[in-house]
């Protein structure tokens, strides 16, 4: 049953279970309607006083099922969203209703197998997506991380509630980007797409005095993903600081920032011009890679 590691685990779960386990035949008879109140969800060992009488209450999804026992209540519609996520959850619950353990098929692990093993440098504090973490810290001023996080939450919420962007064909986004109308429902992807799309591929490095006659030699250099994102966010922040003030209070800055990100996706933002300028410069400066001074230095 619950734990294969300790023989006492099975006994413990037997003592907790106050209702009889449904027999297999019984499961077939009541195949679809199962009783959620019998699920044994009440393994509640917390100190907080639980709202009393919650055992008798049925969740809405189960309200229809109750009609078998209580004919006077009118049947209510099935309230699970019809998606595969819930289908899987329902399958598990049925397993429980049949008297098996929820995670029986998973080699005796109480909470299943991790879908992705933690990497070498992963630790507990890495709870946010990588881009989110980096951008939040770039928004931070005077070490006030908490405020930056609040701004970030506002930005994501704003992206979620504003209408779907119209992508301009003149400013193509990253290849393979999801369709624009699906973006608001995944604000992190929205933000990531905006930043990654507008991020420059390279930067121009000035080598002092190498062109001869005191002139600097400008050579293009590729950047890592993290660097590129940083530059993109800095550009976006520059554009944001030039915008008109929007309301007062905690959401003023975040509101402007969120609008700029939408502008980036829609190709209206001035940040695209900066990207283009850098790329043009980079293309032009590519010739400098074969400059004698540079070649000499390489040797």
């Amino acid at each position: 049953m619950a734990s294969k590691l300790s023989p006492w685990g099975a006994c413990r779960s037997l003592t907790i279970r106050t209702r009889s386990i449904l027999q297999h035949a019984e499961r077939k008879a009541t195949a679809a309607p199962f009783h959620m109140a019998r699920r044994g969800m009440a393994d509640n060992t917390t100190s907080r006083e639980p709202p009393s009488g919650s055992d008798g209450a049925l969740p809405p999804s189960m309200a229809g099922k109750a009609s078998a026992e209580q004919p006077h209540t009118s049947p209510r519609p099935e309230q699970f969203a019809p998606n595969w996520l819930n289908a899987e959850a329902i399958a598990r619950l049925e397993q429980v209703a049949a008297g098996e353990d929820m995670y029986d098929n998973e080699e005796g692990l109480k909470f299943g197998v991790l879908s992705q093993l933690p990497g070498k440098h992963d630790h507990l504090q890495k709870r946010y997506p990588e881009v989110l973490d980096q951008v939040t810290k770039l928004l931070m001023r005077d070490g006030k991380l908490s405020k930056a996080q609040r701004d970030m939450a506002f930005i994501l919420n704003f992206l979620r509630t504003s209408s779907a962007p119209k992508v301009s064909p003149l400013r193509p986004l990253l290849p393979g980007a999801p369709p624009a109308h699906t973006l608001p429902l995944d604000p992190v992807a929205y933000l990531t797409l905006a930043i990654d799309s507008v991020a420059p591929l390279l930067r121009i490095r000035s080598m002092k005095g190498m062109a001869g006659g005191g002139q600097a030699l400008e050579i293009p250099e590729p950047m890592a993903a993290r660097q590129r994102r940083r530059v993109a966010v800095q550009w976006i922040l520059d554009a944001v600081n030039k915008k008109k003030s929007k309301g007062s209070g905690r959401s003023m800055f975040a509101h402007k920032m969120a609008e700029e990100i939408i502008a980036v996706i829609e190709g209206r933002s001035s940040v695209w011009d900066r990207r283009q300028t850098v790329h043009k410069l980079g293309t032009a400066a590519r010739a400098n890679l074969n400059h004698p001074a540079l070649l000499a230095k390489r040797k």
């Binding site: 969800m41 509640n44 907080r48 006083e49 639980p50 709202p51 919650s54 008798g56 209450a57 969740p59 809405p60 309200a63 109750a66 209580q70 209510r76 099935e78 699970f80 969203a81 996520l85 819930n86 959850a89 429980v96 929820m102 946010y128 989110l132 996080q149 939450a153 506002f154 994501l156 919420n157 979620r160 509630t161 209408s163 064909p169 400013r171 193509p172 986004l173 429902l185 995944d186 062109a211 030699l217 030039k242 915008k243 008109k244 003030s245 929007k246 309301g247 007062s248 209070g249 959401s251 003023m252 790329h279 410069l281 293309t283 032009a284 400066a285 590519r286 010739a287 400098n288 400059h291």
Partner: protein, 447 residues
């Protein structure tokens, strides 16, 4: 040598460009090797930078801050949920169900400002709410007693973020659906913080004050939200002191609409209140959010330069007398004060008064006042005498599951909702504190 069109290899294929490559404006003069200059680009003046930033107009910032959005077209439509009915709010078998708010009810609730900017209405397609155990307990009892023409005097208490204001909203929804006259003061601190105008009410001893424009706004909101009930009632008293001509058969809605001048707002409001207290009228529901704010000395000053006690304002006095049981309601009434924990200076008088009310309710010995504390406010004890205290508790896992299924169906919560995840979030949310559950579920980043 850099080719003319080569910089494009750094760009992304655009449909437009792929279709008509010849139309692309290319570099006519390719840059020569090495000793080129880019200073022209750098020195070029950015006109955008020079433009001064305009300041927002008066009131614009606050309007933005206080904006309440009740729908989100991006969120998925959740089908299969029923519309909220009055019966559902008092039915114990309905606990844990999500229900959508009917459009008419949404309009009424919005008019009396029952929705708050801090609540997450703007994330979902249309307003829905969870019928929780506390809702059914509170409203079931209340509805039963009002039907018997009793007066329910309750203070809604609870931890921060546990859903006190939300229960207040559900109470108002029940009031509207049961055809009560609903009066709501959405933010009690607006009345004491000296942010809105006030004036002396002539011939009152001890002197009383009113909030002319606030009461006018309240009156208008009250009239438009309760139009259906008020327009059926005909005035019974004489109102010769009011401006305008009120005919004998005028309805209460007309009475509420008789003035547009802040100066006459309080007399009209008072007249309406007196009318509502006549026998045979519909029951009254008077709710106030942020009760602790009106249990102190306000920031306003009287003409003799003394600070005015919050209970010396006519509107708060009306509420406080109703809450303290001094007003007799022949038709039944619900007087509900919602406490706030988000912004509240702790006050020993309020705490002690509620403690005593709680003890009286449970028929336990009444706790004594602290003998070494001399600053107890007698008026606070008077105002909270004999009230019932309703403690909003945290939600159960079943309710949390129902809520999370709704969030997932709306596309806002992007995770699998099963026993494990529900249990995990429920625990993260301080064992089912509703506001915390929203924070850990609806926000990717920390809010």
């Amino acid at each position: 040598m850099a080719a003319a069109n080569c910089w494009r290899c750094l760009g992304r294929p655009s449909t437009q460009r792929l279709l008509a490559p010849s139309s692309i404006p290319s570099f006519k003069n390719p840059t020569s090797v090495a000793a080129f200059t880019t200073s022209a680009t750098f020195l070029a003046k950015d006109d955008n930078q020079e433009r001064p930033i305009e300041a927002p107009g008066p009131g614009e910032r606050k309007a933005f801050r206080k904006r309440i959005q009740l729908s989100n077209d991006n969120a998925l439509k959740v089908s299969g949920l029923s519309e909220l009915e009055a019966q559902q709010l008092v039915d114990p078998t309905a606990v844990g169900q999500m229900a959508s708010l009917p459009t008419g009810l949404v309009d009424q609730l919005r008019t009396i400002e029952a929705f708050k900017p801090t609540q997450n209405w703007g994330l979902f397609r249309s307003p829905h709410m969870l019928v929780r155990k506390d809702t059914v307990d509170f409203l079931g009892d209340m509805t039963k007693r009002i039907a018997n023409k009793e007066t329910v005097r309750t203070v809604i208490e609870g931890e921060r973020g546990v859903g006190k204001s939300m229960l207040g909203l559900q109470t108002m929804a029940a009031g509207f659906m049961n055809k009560m006259v609903v009066i709501n003061i959405p933010e009690a601190q607006d009345l004491v913080e000296a942010r809105t105008d006030y004036s002396y009410i002539p011939r009152t001893t001890p002197e009383q004050f009113s909030h002319p424009s606030y009461i006018l706004k309240l009156l208008q909101a009250l009239r438009s939200a309760n139009e259906e009930v008020l327009s059926k009632e005909i005035i019974k008293l004489e109102h010769i002191h009011l401006p305008g001509n009120l005919s004998r058969n005028a309805s209460l809605a007309t009475l509420a609409n008789v003035t547009k001048e802040p100066e006459f707002a309080w007399p009209v409001f008072n007249a309406l209140w007196q009318e509502l207290l006549q026998p045979g009228r519909p029951p009254i529901m008077f709710t106030l959010d942020g009760l602790s704010h009106i249990m102190r000395i306000s920031d306003y000053r009287s003409p003799s330069f003394n600070l005015i006690h919050a209970h010396d304002f006519a509107l708060t006095r009306l509420f406080v007398e109703a809450l303290g049981g001094k007003t007799h309601f022949p038709n039944g009434a619900a007087i509900v004060g919602v406490m706030t924990k988000g912004n509240w200076l702790k006050d020993k008088s309020v705490e002690k008064a509620l403690e005593q009310a709680r003890a009286a309710q449970a028929e336990l010995p009444i706790p004594e006042r602290d003998a070494y504390y001399s600053k107890y406010d007698e008026r606070v004890f008077e105002a909270l005498k004999g009230v019932e205290v309703f403690d909003v508790k945290s939600i159960s896992k079943l309710e949390a599951r129902s809520l999370m299924e709704y969030w997932a169906a709306s596309g806002v919560l992007r995770m699998r909702v099963d026993e494990k995840t529900v249990s995990e979030r429920w625990t993260l949310a301080g064992n089912g504190v509703l506001g915390e559950l929203e924070r850990v579920s609806l926000y990717v980043s920390r809010l």
